[in-house]
Structure formats: structure tokens, C-alpha cells
């Protein structure tokens, strides 16, 4: 993995975010993500990690970077959303569409691709996440783990440049966590750029290129997993690791 500047997929500097009630959620966050890199974001609840990755998708208000408001151009926001895929904690599959139609909807509407072409791609993606035979079912008929794998396939179907995961395993039953993590591991091996907010330490240790700790709306520590878990620099990281390990 090289880190030349033109390989940069995301470069955020000094991201600020206030909620309408005045809560200062992000207080100048810096983060760079390179092509093919897997970054795991950890942190206690309320540390702003979900808010942060949602700013990449313009789902959470406007971003302030270096004291200048950006991301107010509606056309650019749409463009960003097309190129950034997102997987949610609650899956958010469309319950009124079949699994296949969940995948086909956006590429046909947004990219204007032909239905037959997208369908073929969708079926191969479903095959990749191991649920090809469920393509004609409705989301309500699938288990949580299956739904989350469909959600990943749905995001991939738009061929995004980067995939964001917002606590993808937090609302799953324990026995279903693994099947979802396996899919994510497989994606990492295929050099898909990912930013993952999660509490899964093992996944972070094995898959991440870098682990980031956020607390109180700031990035506290940013290090390769070996260093992050074995030999953290900051006191705050140590305390956090004590709590979750």
C-alpha cells in the first residue's frame, strides 16, 4: 500500500459539527484514508464517531473544514453520495422491495444503467455475500445477518469508491456477527477502501491497516493495530482499551 497524495480517497481536516441544540459533536477532526485502506474507528459512545463518518455522506448537516463551510453545493453532495457507500447499524433495507430490487433500485435510477445488466451484477454480488438463493425474498423474511449482508451488497452495487460501515454488527444476535464480519474481511482482501466504526477488536486487529480512537469529538490516537492494542501512546486509549478488553 502506497501513500502518495493522489491515492487519497478522503482527506478531512478540522471537521467541526454543531447540532441544532448547540451540542458540539465534532471538534476539529483530521483523518486521511488512502485507496485500498481499511480504517477502523473506535471510541466510547457519544464520542462522535458515527457523526464523523456520516459527514462523509452529507447525512449529518454541513461540514466545516478549516473554518470554511463546505459541502453546500447540492450537485456536489449528490456526487459524493453516489461515490460513497454506506452500511447502517439497522440495515435499512427497503421492506417493500425484494432483495434483488433493493440492489437494482439505485444503479438503475441514479446511474441510469439498464435493468438486465444491473440484475446480473446484483446476482453475482449476492453470490459473493452468500445469499444468492434469497434474491426473490423480501427483507422481512431474512435473518439479521442475512439482511446486513444484503445491505453490504446493495452498497457495493453502486460501485462506490469507499464503503462506510456504521456499527454494522451492533444490532445483530451474537451468532450472526461472524457471517457479516467474514464478508467484510473478504472485501478487505479485495482491496476495497473501508472506514468501519465498530467495537469488534478482533476484526480491527486482523483486518485494519489503521485504528483510530475518537473521544469527545476529537481523534485521540491513530496507529496501526499492533501498536494501538499492544502499546498505545495515550492515556485515554489505555483507559478505553481497559474498558472493552
Amino acid at each position: 500500500m502506497t501513500s502518495s497524495p493522489n491515492n487519497l480517497v478522503i482527506e478531512a481536516r478540522g471537521v467541526q459539527k454543531w447540532y441544532p441544540n448547540g451540542y458540539h459533536a465534532l471538534r476539529g477532526v483530521d483523518l486521511s484514508v488512502h485507496r485500498g485502506e481499511v480504517v477502523v474507528v473506535m471510541g466510547p459512545s457519544g464520542s462522535g464517531k458515527s457523526t464523523f463518518i456520516r459527514t462523509f455522506n452529507a447525512l449529518e448537516g454541513s461540514i466545516r473544514i478549516d473554518d470554511i463551510s463546505l459541502g453546500n453545493d447540492l450537485r456536489q453532495i449528490d456526487a459524493i453520495r453516489r461515490e460513497v457507500g454506506m452500511v447502517f447499524q439497522q440495515f435499512n433495507l427497503f421492506p417493500h422491495l425484494t432483495v434483488l430490487d433493493n440492489l437494482v433500485l439505485a444503479p438503475t435510477l441514479v446511474r441510469g444503467r439498464s435493468r438486465t445488466e444491473v440484475q446480473a451484477q446484483a446476482l453475482s454480488l449476492l453470490d459473493r455475500v452468500g445469499i444468492k438463493e434469497q434474491a426473490q425474498k423480501f427483507p422481512g423474511q431474512l435473518s439479521g445477518g442475512q439482511q446486513q449482508r444484503v445491505a453490504i451488497a446493495r452498497a457495493l452495487c453502486m460501485e462506490p469508491r469507499i464503503l462506510l460501515f456504521d456499527e454494522p454488527t451492533s444490532s445483530l444476535d451474537p451468532e450472526m456477527v461472524r457471517e457479516v464480519l467474514d464478508v467484510m474481511r473478504q472485501l478487505a482482501q479485495e482491496d476495497i477502501t473501508m472506514v468501519v466504526v465498530t467495537h469488534e477488536v478482533k476484526f480491527a486487529e486482523q483486518v485494519a491497516h489503521r485504528v483510530v480512537l475518537m473521544a469527545e469529538g476529537n481523534v485521540v490516537e491513530e496507529a496501526p493495530p499492533a501498536q494501538f492494542f499492544k502499546n498505545p501512546k495515550h492515556e485515554r486509549t489505555r483507559r478505553f482499551l481497559d474498558q472493552i478488553l
Partner: protein
């Protein structure tokens, strides 16, 4: 003990008090039923309905132009038959694909019975009687043809088929009011069931888009749109319909430049539309509220624009949830058309009141009003049944329940 007897006992005679209550109720119901049957067969004189059946059906629509209404009825019948058949031969994955399920046979038998029985009761002329039979035969035939050969139709044809309905509606408007080479029949000559169905269908069709827009406005992030919707909805819902009809009849003329105000019947139809839209908006709003925010976020994160998100993701889910409440509003809208009789329009109830003013029929108001009640009850109950069937067909949950079993 026989299970039926055991159930009866548990249901009706569980305790002495229950038993006494049941006996009392049985006596009461029997007495009422016997009284009603006796009255209907012996004392009631249904001649008032027979003599005025045309008036009840179409009001003062000119007799030599009534073929247009028959033609429209035939068109509607054919379209109903084809739609029905197509629905059956393209069942959802979870339904059995029988061409003639038992429900359909029952409905068809019922319709046939009505088609044969009604002309006899009304003592229609043989010419009219045969028309009813032809209509019943047409329905059965189109239903059978569409069910038999519908599966051979190509996908684009099936997709375009629903357009037949608005087309028939527009054709119907032309047939009823004239124009395009047909002799014009002024709205003041429309009446009876024709006027009731015309105004209610007009209002139902138009209040739907208006109500959805108002509901979206009420949930909008833009304060101005929200306030306009709230003020409109609350204003309309605060006033009795009769005062709004009054507004339409007496004040609309002042609000528009001279000569622009439509005919009285159209004014009333528009008032009904605007009235129903406010109530419908509230039904749709509850549906919108039931769609989780995550659905919008997911659609937006896939790159769908706001209108695309609304049309493809939010509305399909919201309208399905709102469906029972919406049909409830349509049912009350159909009932509300009776208020047109209070501003002097001759819809069903208005016709009934003019008939009752004729001294020849003095003392037979019970027959007329009970018949009207039966007509309204059947229409409303049919709407309710249809809504429940549609709800079941659209609900992915029933689908998952029935087919996820091994």
C-alpha cells in the same frame, strides 16, 4: 358433547346471568326480524321505488340520451372484468394460482343473482331487463377471457393496462356531459345515483394527490410550507362541511371574476375535493410518520435524489400503512355527498326528498329511505372489503409469513 353445542354453551350460557341475557337478546332479535320481514312483505309498498327507479338512477337525464350511460356502464363492466381476470392470472408468489378460487365464484354468483333479481323486483321492461343480463354476461365473459389468456400478454401491455381506467373515466365524462359531437347534457339534468357516484369519484380521485402534497408539506423541513399546510388542514377540519358547501355556493362567485365560477354541481364537487384533501392529508401523515428515518438515509446514501427517495422508497411504504385510514376517508366522502341535497342538488338523497314531496307517495318514506340506506351500506361495505383485500395483497409481511414456513 357435540363441539358446536359446547361452543354455544361457552359463548351464550356460561353463567345464569349470561343465559338470561342471551335468551332476552334472542327474543328481541327474533321479534325485530319477524317484524321487519312482515313489514317488508305485507305492509310496505315498493311501488314508490319501482315507479321512480329511473329518477333514482340518473335523475332527469334526458331519456333519449340514456344510451350513453348504458354504454359507459358496459365499458366499466368490461374493464372491471378484465382487471379482475388479470389480477387472478398474475397472482403473487404466495397465492395459489387457481383460475377460479372460491371467492370469485361466490362473488360472481352473487352478482348474477342481483342482475336477475333486481330487474324483477323493480319490474323493469323486458328491454331494460335484458340489458342487465347482458351486462352480467359481459362481466363474466371478460373475467374468464382475461383470466384464461392474460398470462400470454407481454409485460409492456400489462404495464400500460392500468391506464385504461383514467381513459374510461375521461370517456365517461364526455359521454355524460356531451361534446365531441354528442348532444350536451347540462349538469343540472344529472341526478340520483349518477350524480352521487360522479361527485364522489371526482372528489376521491382529485383529493388524493392534493392530500399527499399537503401531508408532505406538513412534514416538510421548510417552515413556510409547513405552516401553509397546517393552516389549511386545520381550517378545513374545523368547519362543518355544510358551511363549506355554503361557502362554495354563495361566496365562490365573489372570489372569481364574473362568469368564471363553475356550475353549481362542479362547485360542490370541488368543495368536496378540498374538504376531503385535508382529512386525507392527516391519514397520509400518519403513514409518513411510520416510515423510519433510516429508510430516507439509506436511499440518500445510495445517491437517490429527494424526489426519487420520496416516490420509490417513502411513499410506497407510507401509503400502504395509511391505506385503511385513507379508505375510511373515501367511505365518509361517499357518505358526505348526501349533504349536496341540503344545497338543493338532486343526488340520491335529494331525489328521495323530491319524491317524498309528491303527495302520491305520502306515507311511504320508510321504503325509500331504507332502500337508500341499503344502497349506501353496500357501497361503503364493498369499499371496506376491497381495502382489506388490497391491504393483504400489498403487505410483504403476510407474504413472508405464508412462504417462510418450510
Amino acid at each position: 358433547m357435540n363441539p358446536l353445542l359446547r361452543r354455544l354453551r361457552a359463548d351464550l350460557f356460561a353463567t345464569p346471568a349470561d343465559g338470561a341475557l342471551s335468551l332476552g337478546l334472542i327474543a328481541l332479535i327474533t321479534a325485530a326480524a319477524v317484524g321487519l320481514v312482515q313489514w317488508a312483505t305485507q305492509r310496505a309498498q315498493w311501488a314508490v321505488i319501482q315507479a321512480n327507479s329511473t329518477l333514482f338512477a340518473v335523475g332527469r337525464y334526458p331519456a333519449d340520451q340514456q344510451w350513453r350511460l348504458w354504454l359507459l356502464t358496459a365499458l366499466l363492466t368490461a374493464a372491471t372484468g378484465v382487471t379482475w381476470g388479470l389480477l387472478r392470472c398474475h397472482p403473487r408468489a404466495d397465492r395459489d394460482g387457481t383460475l377460479w378460487p372460491r371467492n370469485d365464484l361466490v362473488v360472481l354468483a352473487l352478482l348474477a343473482a342481483v342482475a336477475f333479481w333486481l330487474p324483477w323486483v323493480l319490474q323493469l321492461t323486458p328491454a331494460l331487463q335484458s340489458r342487465w343480463w347482458l351486462l352480467a354476461a359481459l362481466l363474466a365473459a371478460t373475467r374468464w377471457l382475461a383470466g384464461r389468456f392474460g398470462s400470454q400478454l407481454s409485460r409492456p401491455v400489462l404495464r400500460l393496462f392500468p391506464l385504461v381506467w383514467p381513459l374510461i373515466y375521461l370517456t365517461g365524462m364526455v359521454l355524460i356531459s356531451g361534446g365531441l359531437g354528442l348532444m350536451p347534457v347540462s349538469p343540472s339534468q344529472w341526478g340520483g345515483l349518477l350524480l352521487t357516484l360522479l361527485t364522489s369519484s371526482f372528489a376521491i380521485l382529485l383529493c388524493f394527490p392534493l392530500g399527499v402534497l399537503l401531508a408532505l408539506g406538513r412534514r416538510s423541513d421548510l417552515p413556510l410550507l409547513r405552516w401553509i399546510s397546517v393552516i389549511y388542514i386545520e381550517f378545513i377540519r374545523g368547519a362543518p362541511l355544510i358551511t363549506l358547501l355554503f361557502l362554495g355556493q354563495n361566496i365562490l362567485g365573489f372570489l372569481l371574476p364574473g362568469g368564471l365560477a363553475p356550475d353549481r354541481i362542479w362547485r360542490a364537487a370541488w368543495v368536496l375535493t378540498f374538504f376531503a384533501a385535508a382529512y386525507l392529508a392527516e391519514a397520509v401523515r400518519s403513514g409518513l410518520a411510520s416510515v423510519p428515518n433510516g429508510q430516507i438515509e439509506a436511499a440518500r446514501s445510495l445517491g437517490l435524489s429527494y424526489p426519487q427517495t420520496l416516490v420509490r422508497v417513502v411513499l410506497p411504504q407510507a401509503l400502504r400503512v395509511a391505506l385503511p385510514a385513507m379508505v375510511g376517508q373515501f367511505i365518509s366522502l361517499l357518505q358526505d355527498t348526501t349533504l349536496l341535497s341540503l344545497i338543493g342538488l338532486l343526488e340520491l338523497l335529494g331525489v328521495a326528498r323530491t319524491v317524498m314531496a309528491n303527495p302520491a307517495f305520502l306515507g311511504h318514506s320508510a321504503e325509500v329511505y331504507l332502500t337508500l340506506a341499503l344502497v349506501f351500506w353496500s357501497c361503503c361495505a364493498a369499499l371496506g372489503l376491497g381495502s382489506r383485500a388490497l391491504e393483504k395483497r400489498l403487505d410483504p409481511q403476510t407474504l413472508s409469513r405464508s412462504s417462510s414456513q418450510p
